[in-house]
């Protein structure tokens, strides 16, 4: 069982992910943006962070880099549904910055669980 931090500003998505991860047999807790995510992470370092990219306050790429600085070997899954500038495909960048996996929204719970297990080597 791993500890998973889920950062997404969309309540529906975050809640769905929390439930999916929980049902997948992991411990899960959430944050609404990068700032809250960093706070939660410092309080409770997780084994894996699933983070959205486009979020208010602190967006995902910065969060990934900050997380990597705090914990270089942290497992990260970046998720995104695209931003207001549709031309910007940020998931490859997230990967370059250290995310082990990326998932393009929308995705199914199965895909999420598979990605988690894959990243954690379970």
């Amino acid at each position: 069982m791993a500890s998973v931090l889920i950062i997404d500003d969309d309540d529906m998505v975050r809640t769905m992910l929390l439930r999916t991860v929980t049902r997948g047999g992991h411990e899960a807790f959430g944050a609404r943006d990068g700032v809250e995510g960093m706070t939660r992470f410092r309080d409770h370092p997780a084994d894996l962070v699933i983070t959205d990219i486009f979020m208010p306050n602190q967006e995902g790429l910065a969060t990934i880099m900050e997380l990597r600085r705090v914990k270089p070997d942290l497992k990260i899954i970046a998720i995104s549904g695209g931003g207001a500038r549709a031309s910007l495909d940020v998931l490859p960048v997230a990967e370059a910055l250290g995310a082990q996996r990326t998932l393009r929204k929308p995705f199914t719970p199965t895909e999420v669980i598979e990605a988690i297990n894959d990243v954690l080597g379970l």
Binding site: D10, M12, V13, M16, L17, R19, T20, R23, F54, L61, A62, M65, R68, R69, P72, G81, G82, G83, A84, R85, A86, S87, D89, P92, V93, E95, A96, L97, G98, R104, K105, P106, F107, T108, P109, T110, V112
Partner: protein, 906 residues
């Protein structure tokens, strides 16, 4: 000076002085023979004297008789007297005589010019003669005493002759006038020359007349001045006529001076030497009229040489035929300017019909000519206008129709009697169109407004076109409708352009929409998909709700496909281009599509052996191929009747290069369209991908809209209507063209023409590709930055091993244009400094870009000292990173011009 007339003979002075009254007698007529008067008359003339009085008495009681006779003077000389005897009724019923005698010559009787002895008959005749002359005649002695006058003069003064004779002007007219007359008289007598004078005088009846008076002295036989004789003539009418003539002359002169041209009189003949030229000739030719007349500048020489013969001949013919002539020719004025002139003239003939002169008028019509020319230009412009033009009167009746309208509609003026017919002639709907527009047209015209519409028209060959009709009112100076001008223009091209623009805008809108909603939409779909999966997982396998939830996930999957297409569509123009072989992309795409898509469909890929180089965004062209292949497969499935196996068709994909020598029309271009609007393939070299299917095919209407976003013929659950729109957008962005050949039931072939990349495929040792050595402790960073740089055309050599990187560089530093050091979050600053120094030592000419976490001024200075050219803070922003790399790698190729170290804040 009053002169008394005594009752008895008064012998005043016998020392006779010519012209002066010497004697006056009053006596009864019957005492004439016995009276003292007769005793002074020479005995030889006494009988004639008596006889004169007797004759006068026969004329009436108031008659006057004049008698010239010799008289006896006391010193014994014989002198010639002139005696005037006035008869007058006496108080006692008898007739009394009053005789005034005065000397008219001394010595011997009258000179031979005068009758030696004018008889009483002669005198009477003479008086009758001068009385019958309407001019005023009078004569005076040297003292201005009237010696006689005619009746006209007496009438003029309103007195009898006898009241005048023996008196002076002082007795007859107001004193100032009298003095004036006497002064004139004295002058005449002094100068002894005739005097002529004119003066206005007023008759007793109130008439004012102008008298021309000639006073002249008269002389006695010895040449002595005896007095003056005057003839005064009423010249009032003549003076008035003269005045009028002068006024007329003046008017004529003024008129001719004001004429905008030259009035002339010339000798007949080819030379046309001018006898007279009006002042206007100066303005016309620049030469003063005197020069024109004096032959300093003969008029003939001013005529344009080309026109001279024509002018001569025309005038000669007209004069010959005795009719006026009008001519238009050119003059060259004194300043050398050519003027267009108009001349009218006529021959002046003498009594025998011979032409003695030519009179006429020449005027400058250059402004008119200019106006005429511009009018001609204007009318040519209207006639040759690319727009059909009709000019009508205020009632809409045709006055003019230009040729363009005829070619446009095939109708001539005969069949277009009015504006309604004009509209009907254009409109495909014919008179029906007029009925619709008639009221609106005239309502607009009544309000002095232009009416316009666009309607479908029909050309003579039946080809449809869009006609823009405008009808404008032309107003006269008073603002009243005087004419209508109607134009019809073929605006098909513009309408098509608008339609294309509308489609392009639709595509753009889709892009904006997609970018805007995709993020939220994906979140929503994630939730839908997620919760339905969660719900499915929680349900027992035999739950009846499972199927419902499956429907939810299926719907969400469809939505996911739609959003991805939208994003692909919206993303299209922003991706970087790479030089690749088109065959590779097609191979990859078909491999990706996999066997599932083509199950039941036979397909083949035909590629030549030669590379087909293109400069494209590979992912986009990949998408183009995938979309075209999916469509082709769908078309085959659609063409397969339900229940049959899906092996009735095939898809062929061919890739090849093509050289187009001359522009050629595409198969999908509509032959009815104007040339400018045909889709065509320009000259050039192309890379072509053709996807051919044996499916259901498309009709023309579908082909027309097939690239429009959201247009689909597929069932609602299968097509998004974006696939071909994406294809179209991507191909257009690459400067490519798409051609379609299709017919219902005969399959479809879609060919994508992309510009062939003539610079070919990238060479390994490209001179212009900048080589960047990328060093970072983080493999992910090396990977990401490397990809980023390669996408921008750089050649990136990346490594996580600093020793290996330094070794690579040291072997051949010249191969690199830039060194990029990216700080690993855990990496200490001293290590980076050491590394920078090592690279700078190996070759100081290659710039070093250091990407590190925020550093203080001291650290920046330390890095600068170590040989770092520029620093950038991490995390890296891709845009500014690439910009910086590009700038530095260029600078590095120019040794000695390295920029100073700089620290760029993000």
């Amino acid at each position: 000076m009053q002169r008394m007339v005594p009752d008895e003979p008064v012998d005043m002075d016998d020392a006779a002085e010519v012209g002066v009254v010497r004697h006056s007698w009053r006596y009864p007529v019957d005492a004439v023979e016995s009276g003292p008067m007769l005793r002074r008359v020479h005995p030889g003339d006494r009988a004639r004297f008596v006889s004169d009085i007797a004759l006068a008495l026969a004329d009436g009681p108031c008659a006057v008789c004049h008698t010239d006779h010799r008289a006896l003077v006391p010193d014994g000389r014989t002198v010639w007297w002139h005696s005037v005897t006035q008869l007058r009724p006496g108080t006692n019923g008898g007739i009394r005589c009053e005789t005034h005698s005065f000397a008219i010559a001394e010595g011997q009787p009258a000179p031979k010019s005068s009758p030696p002895s004018p008889g009483p008959d002669d005198r009477t005749l003479l008086q009758a003669l001068i009385d019958s002359i309407p001019d005023l005649i009078f004569f005076k002695d040297p003292n201005s005493v009237y010696l006689g006058c005619n009746r006209a003069f007496a009438d003029f003064l309103g007195r009898g002759v006898s009241e005048i004779v023996g008196r002076t002007d002082l007795d007859l007219v107001p004193e100032d006038r009298a003095r004036y007359f006497q002064d004139r008289d004295a002058e005449v007598l002094r100068q002894q020359t005739p005097h002529r004078m004119e003066e206005w005088v007023t008759f007793p009846d109130g008439r004012s007349v102008l008298l021309e008076t000639i006073k002249t002295p008269y002389y006695g036989p010895e040449g002595a001045v005896l007095g003056l004789v005057a003839v005064a003539r009423n010249i009032t009418e003549k003076a008035r006529a003269e005045q009028e003539r002068r006024e007329s002359d003046r008017r004529l002169a003024t008129l001719m001076g004001n004429l905008p041209g030259m009035a002339y009189r010339a000798r007949p003949g080819t030379e046309r030497s001018l006898l007279f030229a009006s002042e206007g000739g100066h303005r016309l030719t620049g030469w003063p009229p005197t020069d024109l007349v004096s032959r300093t500048m003969p008029f003939e020489t001013l005529i344009h040489p080309t026109d001279r013969d024509h002018v001569r001949q025309s005038i000669a013919i007209a004069l010959d035929q005795g009719r006026p002539f009008t001519l238009s020719y050119r003059l060259i004025d004194r300043a050398g300017i050519t003027r267009h002139v108009w001349e009218q003239g006529v021959g002046v003939t003498d009594g025998l019909g011979r032409v003695v002169a030519v009179e006429g008028f020449v005027t400058d019509i250059s402004p008119l000519k200019t106006a005429e020319d511009s009018l001609r230009t204007l009318s040519l412009a209207v006639a040759q206008s690319p727009v059909g033009v009709l000019i009508a009167d205020a009632f809409g009746r045709t006055i003019y129709l230009n040729p363009r309208f005829r070619t446009m509609t095939g109708r001539s003026m005969d069949t277009v009697p009015d504006i309604d017919a004009f509209i009907a002639g254009v409109a495909a709907a014919g008179p029906m169109a007029v009925a619709d527009h008639h009221a609106a047209l005239w309502r607009a015209l009544a309000a002095n407004q232009t009416w316009q519409t666009e309607l479908p028209g029909c050309k003579p060959n039946g080809a449809p076109f869009w006609a823009a009709i405008r009808v404008a009112p032309l107003l006269d100076d008073d603002g009243r409708l005087s004419n209508l001008i109607a134009t019809v223009d073929d605006v098909t091209a513009r309408r098509q352009g608008e339609e294309q623009l509308r489609r392009a805008q639709k595509m753009q809108a889709v892009g904006v929409l997609a970018g805007g909603v995709a993020h939220d939409f994906n979140n929503i779909l994630t939730a839908i998909l997620g919760y339905s999966h969660l719900a499915l997982d929680a349900l027992p396998d035999d739950s009846a709700i499972r199927d419902d939830l499956h429907q939810v996930t299926t719907a969400a999957e469809r939505a996911r496909g739609l959003v991805q297409q939208l994003l692909a569509f919206a993303r299209k123009e922003k991706l970087e281009r790479e030089a690749v072989d088109l065959r590779d992309i097609v191979h990859d795409a078909i491999k990706l599509l996999g066997p599932t898509l083509f199950s039941g469909v036979e397909w083949s890929l035909q590629c030549g052996g030669d590379p087909v180089p293109v400069l494209v965004a590979p992912a986009q062209i990949h998408q183009v191929i995938v979309n075209l292949c999916k469509n082709a497969a769908d078309a085959i499935l659609d063409a397969t009747p339900l229940g049959q196996t899906r092996t009735s068709g095939g898809v062929t994909v061919t890739v090849n290069g093509l050289t187009v020598g001359a522009p050629r029309d595409l198969a999908r271009s509509d032959p009815a369209r104007d040339d400018v609007n045909r889709a065509r393939l320009d000259t050039g070299r192309y890379a072509c991908v053709t996807v051919t299917d044996t499916g259901c095919g498309m009709d023309a209407a579908v082909q027309d809209r097939m690239f429009e976003p959201f247009f689909t013929t597929k069932p609602v659950d299968k097509g998004t209507g974006l696939g071909l729109a994406v294809v179209h957008g991507i191909v257009s962005d690459h400067g490519g063209v798409i051609d379609v050949t299709s017919a219902p039931g005969h399959g479809t072939a879609i060919t994508v023409f992309l510009p062939l990349n003539d610079s070919g495929l990238p060479r390994r040792r490209s001179d212009d590709a900048r080589r960047v050595l990328l060093l970072s402790g983080e493999a992910a960073m090396v990977g990401m930055a490397g990809r980023l740089l390669r996408s921008q055309g750089f050649r990136a050599v990346g490594t996580t091993d600093s020793r290996r990187g330094l070794a690579l560089f040291s072997v051949a530093p010249d191969r690199f244009h830039l060194i990029v050091l990216v700080q690993n979050p855990a990496e200490p600053v001293w290590r980076l400094l050491t590394l920078a120094r090592a690279f700078a030592a190996a070759n100081p000419d290659v710039p070093i870009l250091l990407c590190a976490a925020q550093m203080n001024d001291g650290e920046t200075a330390a890095f600068q000292a170590a040989g770092v050219t520029c620093t950038m803070p991490t995390p890296l922003a891709p845009d500014s990173f690439i910009t910086q790399v590009r700038a530095l790698s260029r600078a590095g190729s120019q040794a000695g011009s390295l920029p100073a170290i700089q620290h760029n804040d993000m």
